[in-house]
Symmetry: C2
Subunit: 124 residues, 2 copies
């Protein structure tokens, strides 16, 4: 297992678009937008088919060995790339993945879907 | 790292109770109720302080090495112990943690908060 921090992006998110719509999915657009950005060293961008947060807009996850996993929703492909990169940078500087509340981007404060403790701690 | 499957339970959940209420928290009651049940071999019950799904009722997570993590909300301490144990048993029989849709407990179908892919697959 690598020590990489992963930026998970739900690529199947429709953001409420009709199932029949043939337009590119907002989730895929968000993934594309992020893939065009230089990411900090050690961060792996990873597409995921459905993070199962379908009713709350585009969704990402941040996780890594020894860190809490955080999932955030309510994201838009064009509007929130900067917010995601800002939050990612702050996540990287938090050894356990817990960004101090005051330092979290406002969008992260209001759109955290779930957090999950690191696997390792369970067997410490 | 152990191969154990973990049943995470948010013990701080208030289920909408006022912050000032001194009554036992529903999340803690759910954890207590589950701790009184015999769990399948290899399953570790683990309390977590806040899974950050506070607005959607008591919350649990199922995860294990090589498995998708699933988080379910909308649970009640007394009403849903059987459902959780049923879902746990089905999760155990699914090698990657993905319970076939038709076999999922109805509550799981309607109250999945998020799912997260296994860590290992990211580095395969």
């Amino acid at each position: 297992m690598s020590d990489a921090v992963e930026l998970l992006v739900c690529t199947t998110c429709r953001c409420g678009q009709p199932k029949e719509a043939e337009a590119p999915r907002p989730g895929a657009q968000l993934y594309e937008a992020l893939s065009e950005q230089p990411l900090p060293e050690g961060v792996k961008l990873r597409p995921v088919e459905c993070l199962s947060n379908c009713s709350q807009g585009c969704t990402i996850g941040l996780r890594g060995p020894g860190r809490w996993t955080y999932v955030y929703g309510g994201l838009e492909p064009e509007a929130h790339v900067g917010v995601i990169l800002d939050g990612l940078a702050r996540y990287l500087t938090a050894p356990n993945g817990i960004i101090p509340w005051r330092e979290r981007p406002e969008h992260f404060k209001r759109n955290c879907v779930v957090r999950i403790p690191p696997m390792e701690a369970a067997h410490a």
